[in-house]
């Protein structure tokens, strides 16, 4: 019986991340439009887009291989599994032993690997440009992510997200390493999700796009899957930031039903706050040149290394 309940809670989490991800993006777009004094599309628009894409016919290029057809499922499943593992509203989920920061980084990395392959599969030049740029960013973003994982693990004594969240809830101290790690993680999250200083999610201008360039050849349900995967990825990064750096209100293992509901409300609140901050940030700054991005991500890597270094100095006894 316990096993069934545990599996049900885990299943709720899996469904929750999938259900909330388009809403988060719709909310962010709405806030951004309102900040620019425009009306903006309704918040449910991403769901409608996905439904419309699923209903549409798939148009395949003549020279598309099996990889082109199966790739979107791989990208989507890797991202979904990663997002479902992160403790969002409760830490003691059934599969929380697998919710390891490094494992999640690896899952996202494999999703990116498949996406870059898909971009190159048909052989158009845009896909190649997008894939090579994505890989260039990844060479800096992934080491930065690993350094962040190391720093957090050094501070909290574990790479498991549940344990980290519990540690952050109970320790309650200011640490310069964690501040640096947070800044680095925010930069990595902006770059990985193709948000504004790195890539503009709303543009189709050929020379600047990265993520859009890779998926230019996709249509129909394949495109819907890739889009949904990118929505889930945004939610995943916000959940990781929330779980590691702001775990307030998250329900612990063995807590009752009310605690879980409180955790759920806190989680939705955190998502809304993060979406609002993201929109406000995006209206405030301009997109940078592609060749400046390596400096921007290099700063994230540097912050991660610095955080790990400063950890060795802090709180010597």
């Amino acid at each position: 019986m316990d096993l069934i309940i545990a599996l049900a809670v885990q299943g709720t989490q899996m469904a929750l991340v999938l259900a909330l991800a388009p809403l988060l993006l719709g909310f962010t777009r709405k806030v951004k439009a309102r900040l620019l004094r425009r009306r903006g599309p309704p918040m449910l628009q991403p769901y409608r887009d996905l439904l419309r894409l699923i209903r549409k016919e798939v148009v395949l290029a003549d020279n598309a291989s099996w990889l082109f057809r199966s790739g979107p499922y791989m990208v989507f499943s890797a991202t979904w599994v990663a997002a479902a593992l992160v403790p969002t509203f409760a830490t003691g989920l059934h599969f929380s032993w697998a919710a390891d920061l490094i494992a999640i980084t690896a899952l996202i990395g494999s999703a990116r690997f498949f996406l870059a392959l898909l971009g190159m599969d048909v052989g158009t030049s845009f896909g190649g440009i997008g894939a090579s740029r994505e890989m260039m960013f990844a060479t800096l973003a992934e080491p930065a992510m690993i350094m962040i994982a190391f720093t957090v693990a050094l501070v909290a004594g574990s790479t498991q997200l549940s344990a980290i969240a519990q540690f952050m809830l109970t320790s309650g101290s200011l640490r310069v390493s964690l501040g640096l790690a947070l800044a680095a993680l925010v930069i990595v999250a902006l770059a990985e999700n193709a948000r504004i200083p790195v890539d503009n999610p709303a543009t189709h201008l050929e020379l600047t796009m990265v993520h859009e360039a890779m998926i230019l050849e996709y249509s129909g349900r394949h495109l819907a899957l890739i889009e949904l995967a990118s929505f889930v990825k945004l939610l995943l990064y916000i959940s990781v930031i929330g779980c590691v750096f702001a775990p307030w209100g998250i329900a612990a293992a063995g807590d009752g039903f009310t605690a879980t509901l409180t955790g759920l409300a806190a989680y939705v609140g955190k998502l809304a706050l993060a979406g609002f901050l993201l929109a406000a940030f995006e209206t405030a700054i301009a997109k940078m040149r592609v060749f400046r991005v390596s400096d921007f991500l290099g700063a994230a890597l540097m912050l991660g290394v610095l955080a790990a270094l400063l950890r060795f100095v802090s709180r010597l006894t």
Binding site: S173, A299, L306, L309, L310, V313, S314, R315, L316
Partner: protein, 221 residues
């Protein structure tokens, strides 16, 4: 006597100072560089004020006030005027390469931590942390001075070294006030001398790129 939270805040400020030092190295525009230097001085004065609070050393408040007024306000304003008068406030400075400088900076920070932690084993926790951070700030200032070609950036590197010295002195429980005041004023005098010097260089060579000086020492460019 010093609670863990007080220690954490002191650590936060000292680590923040190292971070701002790295940010100084990251800047490639004159105005951004001067603004970041003002931030550097602000962080050092907050750090010193916090030390004064947790060490019960009221004279350190004066040190903090001097740092705030002279280095966070007077010197940046003077430098900005100087840069505008020299007509280089819009120039983008050719740095060696930001990536390489960053790698060198990380190496220097690691070096100073590795050097300072073993040799200060008997000292208090606060002093150990502050000394290792102060050494990294000083080394980063030196790196700034050798990796920049523009004389104004070298002046800023020099000033950031002085901030690192203040951090070291306050962490080691007390620098006499007389010393601090005299250091602050000698920095001001140095600024004036350097300022006059900059204008002389510019009059003579019509640029503040110090590479042109090498030819006049008989070296091959």
């Amino acid at each position: 006597m010093i609670g863990p939270l007080a220690l954490d805040v002191a650590h936060l400020f000292a680590g923040g100072l190292v971070l701002v030092s790295v940010m100084l190295l990251y800047q490639d525009r004159m105005t951004g560089l001067i603004n970041t230097f003002a931030l550097h001085a602000l962080v050092v004065s907050m750090s010193v004020a916090w030390q004064a609070f947790i060490q019960n050393a009221p004279h350190l408040y004066i040190t903090a006030a001097i740092a705030l007024v002279i280095k966070a306000v007077v010197i940046p304003v003077a430098l900005r005027r100087m840069v505008v008068r020299l007509g280089i406030h819009r120039t983008i400075e050719p740095v060696v390469s930001i990536g390489l400088t960053m790698l060198a900076a990380i190496g220097l920070i690691a070096l100073s931590i590795m050097v300072m932690l073993p040799i200060t084993a008997q000292a208090g926790t606060l002093a150990r942390e502050d000394l290792s951070f102060a050494l990294s700030v000083i080394l980063l200032g030196l790196l700034m001075m050798i990796s920049r070609r523009n004389a104004v950036s070298q002046v800023i590197g020099f000033m950031s070294i002085e901030n690192g010295l203040i951090l070291a002195a306050t962490g080691a429980k007390g620098m006499p006030l007389v010393v601090e005041i005299s250091v602050a004023f000698s920095i001001l005098v140095a600024l004036i001398v350097i300022g006059i010097f900059l204008f002389r260089i510019r009059e003579r060579f019509e640029t503040v790129d110090i590479h042109l000086l090498h030819e006049h020492r008989g070296e091959q460019p």
